[in-house]
């Protein structure tokens, strides 16, 4: 019989769920994110309470059998919040504990393969955002950018942007997930913003610095000038920059 485990959608919660799976020797399990609502829908439901002691033990066990890179990949796969990601992560972890040796590279196993696929999707999206963020300079000196990535990659962007733009204040806001990251010249913080004035997070034209329009104009011109018309290849162009990203790209607006 299948047991449904309800957890709080954090990675720690997921690891606590893994603990319960072993504690109660559950065979078939289904992971669901969210709140406890009603038992009427399910025959067999367990509410997971995230617990430091429990997920700590799972974490320790994993660290013994996985490389740091393997741990990182599990976390990234969970972050993706794709439908079957949690099932893949759970399957992966059970395989890790069941196998005598390190199984990170066993791509013949469907869970290992699926985690690898999800991580690949996440990494690609992260890389795209590192490329497609377009900062706009506002009057208070802030470099501001809005993005709408396919997956929740903001946490993965912090290190790159912090290292690169160490001497300017910047903020990247995820319009889809309604939160942002903000760097104040010292550290990066998560921010949630309330746009009750009806303008929305995307509209900041009124607060541009004097030269912002000028540089956007120059960049658009540059983009046009480097094109070689006799080599036009629209299919390739769109494969590299899918249309859904265009609305936040200065040169494609």
């Amino acid at each position: 019989m299948t047991t449904t485990l309800i957890y709080d959608s954090t990675f720690e919660g997921l690891l606590t769920a893994v603990f319960e799976v072993y504690e109660h020797r559950l065979e078939y399990v289904k992971l669901v994110k969210g709140e406890w609502r009603s038992t009427a829908l399910f025959d067999n439901v367990m509410q997971i309470v995230t617990d430091e002691h429990r997920y700590g033990r799972v974490l320790k066990g994993l660290q013994k059998k996985l490389s740091p890179n393997g741990m990182q990949r599990l976390y990234v796969a969970h972050l993706a919040a794709i439908d079957d990601a949690d099932a893949a992560v759970l399957g992966y972890i059970r395989y890790v504990f069941d196998a005598p040796q390190n199984i990170e590279e066993d791509y013949g196993n469907r869970h290992v393969m699926r985690v690898s696929e999800i991580v690949k999707m996440m990494r690609r999206e992260k890389h795209r955002m590192e490329a497609f963020v377009r900062f706009q300079r506002l009057q208070d000196g802030l470099f501001y950018s809005v993005i709408e990535p396919d997956f929740n990659v903001l946490p993965m962007l912090i290190r790159h942007f912090k290292n690169r733009y160490a001497d300017q204040k910047w903020m990247i806001y995820d319009l889809k997930r309604k939160y942002g990251i903000y760097y104040d010249l010292h550290q990066v913080e998560y921010m949630e913003m309330d746009f009750s004035d009806g303008q929305g997070a995307g509209n900041v034209i009124n607060s541009f610095t004097d030269d912002e329009d000028g540089y956007q104009h120059l960049w658009k011109n540059y983009f046009k000038s480097v094109n070689i018309a006799s080599r036009k290849n629209t299919k390739l162009h769109i494969r590299h920059i899918p249309k859904r990203y265009w609305k936040h790209l200065t040169e494609k607006i």
Binding site: E105, N163, L218, V226, R231, T234, H237, H240, I241
Partner: protein, 418 residues
Amino acid sequence: MNLERITEKLNILADAAKYDVSCASSGSKRKNENKGLGNASNGICHSYTEDGRCVSLLKILLTNHCIFDCAYCVSRKSNDIKRAAFTVQEVVDLTINFYRRNYIEGLFLSSGIFKDADTTMERLVQVAKKLRTEHKFNGYIHLKSIPGASDELMREAGLYADRLSVNLEMPTEAGLKLLAPDKDRKDMIQPMGFLRNEIIQRKEEKKLFKKAPIFAPAGQSTQVIIGATDEDDRAILYSANHFYKNFNLKRVYYSGYVPVLADTRLPALNTAVPMVRENRLYQADWLMRFYGFRVNEIVNNDQPHLDLDIDPKLSWALRNMQVFPVDINKADLQVILRIPGIGLLSAQKIVSARKFSKLNWDHIKKLGVAVNRARYFITCNSNAYERRDLTGTRIKQFILAESQSKYLKNKPDQLSLF
């Protein structure tokens, strides 16, 4: 900022620089340790032009005034076009402001030769120096080394730039003589040799003294124009191989000639850009650098040209059917890398995954192998495999019939070139 004037200059000088195809911004390890602006590491393509090429660097000429008259170049002296020149400060401002907005990875600065080699080179070095020292800029800088510039200037350039490049322009000396009579191939090879020695020497120093300055950490590259003269692919690839081996080049770029000028020495103005041939040359280049192929396995006296309708790896496999089929559960990585339809990553994954269990078709497909090509060349843990004794020609027909090749419709255009 005088927006109108800068815009005009940018349009002219970006337009003139775009035929230089190098766009790499990777291979450097410059860190942002001084809490300055930027770093250079893996390379990011921030945008793509409508022709599908990556836009990673602000690629411009300092000026398109030029004392030379090379037939293939838009900026040649005798060409009647608008001329412009940036000041050092203008280039610096553009770079910094584009970089801060995350438009670019850095600067690729080249120039027409406006008085003599040294004056031009000195100006390029000034830009890089100003960026590094006054603006604490740690982004990527690629400087063109001007043929004939002094060793002193080249050395200084290497201290500020991540990559330096000298364009060979034509794959062979004869081609260069014909189209660029003012240029001497020796002047191009001399700085390459100088840079090679300097890079090796600085690396040694760096091993001994951690504080030793980094010198052109992303190495040097070059570019050859193809399809402007009548060299065959063998000549081009042998020449590329020679420069990889003897000058430690990081990259050789192949630039399909875009007809920009009417000249009896050149292909006519309405000739198509040899894009497929260019693509095949890059594929061959990759085979030499990453897949362990020797140049004479790809092109030789019997096979002076690359196939246009199939890639060079498939082409090699079809000529060497005695090597196949390969058992992917047993063969060495080096052998697996030679199977059509299997790339670098999937080859490595196969070698890792087969330690755990024998792989079958399903596994192989999931690992990212193009099974529709690979299946003629491999066996795996399955009874199903290609049992017919097919000739190379037959396999080629099967594969071409299956793929909706974007190249087939281009083929007639390509042939008219030669």
